[in-house]
């Protein structure tokens, strides 16, 4: 029978780096990554799962990390915004966000980039409608999204 516990040793790989920590069962993945692992690129913009600022790719799947417990991610491979650029070299998508002024305050940007990254992996040439649909779970309060659509589209085509 599996153990029932209020805290647990958790091993995760984040952006290729393995971490092992003892975690309270109640801790959300987003808090674990931000507070315990000090990877503060992913953000928190709501407390109801609406905003997507906390979006990460967990075992290949885009999720909002504020609705996942850290203990649920035990053994998982996690990708966050910090893992996109290599050696400070922006990905085409990151560069496109800058080129198209798809970010203002930049608070939504990490989540937005993860959602767009997930989209482009499965659909390298998305239509406008597919882009909107793919970003539906990420709120941006600064840009009105239009430039974000353009940025994603430019990478696609």
């Amino acid at each position: 029978m599996s153990a029932i516990a209020s805290s647990k040793a958790v091993t995760v790989t984040v952006n290729g780096v393995e971490y092992e920590r003892e975690v309270e069962a109640r801790k959300l993945l987003i808090h674990f990554v931000r507070d315990d692992l000090d990877l503060t690129g992913s953000h928190i913009g709501c407390d109801t799962g609406n905003c997507g600022a906390c979006s990460m790719i967990v075992d290949g799947q885009l999720v909002k990390s504020c609705m996942l417990l850290a203990v649920q991610a035990d053994g998982a491979s996690i990708e966050t915004v910090e893992g996109l650029a290599e050696d400070g070299e922006l990905t085409a998508l990151q560069q496109s966000f800058s080129d198209h002024h798809a970010l203002q305050c930049g608070y939504c940007t990490p989540g937005m980039l993860m959602s767009a990254t997930a989209l482009l992996r499965t659909n390298p040439n998305p239509t406008d409608e597919q882009i909107k649909k793919a970003l539906q779970g990420n709120i941006c309060r600064c840009t009105g999204y239009w430039n974000i659509f353009e940025a994603v589209k430019a990478v696609g085509s």
Partner: protein, 267 residues
């Protein structure tokens, strides 16, 4: 954001999950967590033990029987359903799943969680009532099935009792279905919705108008018949910030007509 203390278990089998649920009064199944974790953040609910069903592959299958009956595991996500070739046998399911919230929520949220949480604004409770789904509920004492129309008992209250799990949903063959909703923004939360199924007789289920979906059976899919059936249901929906009771009654009627029309027009 900050949950109360909770214990966590990740059972390796359905049997184990049922055993834990039985042993701990305050234990709750954790499916996609897209509702449960949020209510725990608000500390509105604070289970003592979370029984994580995510490791249970037995609950994830989507199968199409030779008679066209579709069996969907409770832990199938909206993304799974929308992408499943089998589930396309009943196209409305995937179509509606694709309009629930957003990619991230669809990647985690499950059909089982959707019906077990029975939030009156959820998409799937009325839809599953309309298509005549049957829910299979398991406990250490065995299995039972409950028709969708009897499954929903109240807000966040269903036929799944303590120590029980919803394991799968069975949906009969059929194609003539419709779904209509007025939502808060595109693909947003439903202000009112209606699902219709015209496979044999017409069944329309209305969401957001009561604690549970209200099922009506109009004599035909003709507009008048549908309106009459909805009026006959004596709806007394709640008022909230998005709609007055009166507005919801009106929407229920309009959406029922639209869902029925879609069902009838579908080939």
């Amino acid at each position: 954001m900050l949950l109360r203390e909770v214990e966590y278990a990740r059972p390796a089998s359905v049997a184990e999950a049922l055993a834990i649920l039985k042993q701990h009064d305050g234990a709750r199944a954790l499916a996609g967590g897209q509702t449960l974790i949020n209510v725990m953040k608000a500390r509105v609910a604070s289970p003592d033990v979370l029984v994580d069903l995510n490791g249970l592959d037995d609950l994830k299958g989507i199968e199409l029987g030779s008679d066209g009956t579709l069996t969907i595991g409770a832990m199938a996500t909206y993304t799974d359903i929308a992408g499943s070739a089998e589930a396309r046998a009943r196209p409305i399911l995937g179509e509606v799943c694709l309009t629930i919230a957003d990619v991230q929520v669809r990647n985690r949220g499950t059909i089982g969680g959707n019906v077990c949480s029975n939030d009156p604004t959820n998409h799937l409770p009325p839809l599953l009532c309309a298509v005549g789904a049957e829910m299979t509920i398991a406990s250490e004492d065995g299995e039972r099935t409950v028709a969708a129309a009897e499954f929903f008992l109240g807000v966040y209250l269903t036929a799944v009792g303590p120590g029980e799990l919803l394991t799968k949903l069975t949906i009969p063959a059929g194609k003539h279905d419709g779904f209509a909703a007025v939502t808060l923004g595109a693909d947003g939360t439903c202000i009112a919705n209606a699902a219709a199924s015209l496979n044999g007789s017409l069944r329309v289920a209305l969401g957001c108008v009561d604690a549970v979906p209200i099922v009506v059976q109009p004599a035909s899919a003709a507009e008048d018949a549908v309106r009459e059936a909805v009026r006959g249901a004596g709806l007394m929906p709640p008022s909230d910030v998005h709609a007055s009771s009166e507005y919801r009654i009106h929407l229920a009627e309009v959406l029922a007509v639209r869902a029925a029309r879609q069902a009838a027009e579908r080939s």
